[in-house]
């Protein structure tokens, strides 16, 4: 039986973006991003286990501007997914579903992500030199 091409109701085209839905899809997006980042972490660990030459090569690649860009994206994803993940855990035990709380916790996650990312990079660049 052939599937007829039926028109769908518009959704993404017309729905006004709200904090709830934006943070939700960002949580998924950063999750996938972290999964990709884990591949880079595994590469680094294996290179280190392979010996000084493989390790030095990997450190060099990760030290390029592109490497730093990827690391920055990874750090933002990590802190966001972590903070919003904690928000999810509160929901899992039944807390924080009031509309006002949802928005307050949501903006807190955004703020915490920015603060943690900034702090980590200031400390990281200061320590590593």
């Amino acid at each position: 039986m052939a599937q007829a091409e039926r028109p769908l109701s518009p959704h993404l085209e017309i729905y006004k973006p709200q904090l709830t839905m934006v943070l939700s899809i960002t949580h998924r997006f950063t999750g996938v991003g972290l999964a990709v980042g884990t591949l880079f972490l595994t590469w680094w660990l294996i290179a280190a286990a392979m010996g000084p030459e493989a390790y030095a090569f990997t450190q060099w690649i990760y030290g390029t501007w592109l490497g730093y860009l990827v690391l920055f994206g990874f750090s933002v994803s990590l802190f966001y997914h972590l903070c919003n993940g904690i928000r999810h855990l509160f929901w899992d035990v039944g807390l924080g579903y009031e509309m006002e709380t949802v928005y307050r916790s949501g903006w807190s996650v955004v703020a915490a992500t920015a603060v943690l990312t900034f702090a980590a990079w200031v400390i990281g660049l200061g320590v590593a030199g």
Binding site: G31, V32, L41, L45, A49, G51, Q59, G85, D92
Partner: protein, 126 residues
């Protein structure tokens, strides 16, 4: 006990197996990853700019090695569970979905194993 009608069971449609275990494991690994992630960030500070000898020295510390091992195990499992849901949500072709889910399960296990091995090798003196 399945509450499906005989026809429903034969047609094979309906809920995609059990999900409670998946849900709980996701939360359990998430809870573990809260402190482990912060510690991981601290380790990145220490390992950044370190040469190989320094990396081996750091990894030789049992606290560093064990924390990293826990981070790897919890992280890879959490990742596998999360990516599984993403694939199930967006891939509708049954054959492609099966291939991707199997690839994800085997791949994350294999890569997790490789990462664990690397940490152990470095921790024991490389």
């Amino acid at each position: 006990m399945s509450f499906k009608t005989p026809l429903g069971r034969v047609a094979g449609l309906g809920s995609a197996k059990e999900g409670t275990g998946h849900w709980w494991a996701q939360r359990l690994t998430a809870v573990a990853l809260v402190p482990l992630s912060f510690l991981f960030v601290v380790f990145v500070f220490a390992f950044a700019g370190a040469d190989h000898a320094r990396a081996v020295e750091l990894m030789g510390n049992p606290l560093v090695a064990v924390t990293l091992l826990l981070f790897i195990v919890a992280g890879f499992y959490h990742m596998k569970l999360g990516m599984q849901v993403v694939i199930e949500d967006y891939v509708h072709h049954e054959g492609a979905k099966t291939v991707l889910l199997v690839g994800l399960a085997l791949g994350s296990f294999a890569l997790g194993m490789a990462a664990v091995f690397a940490v152990l090798k470095l921790a024991f003196g490389s």
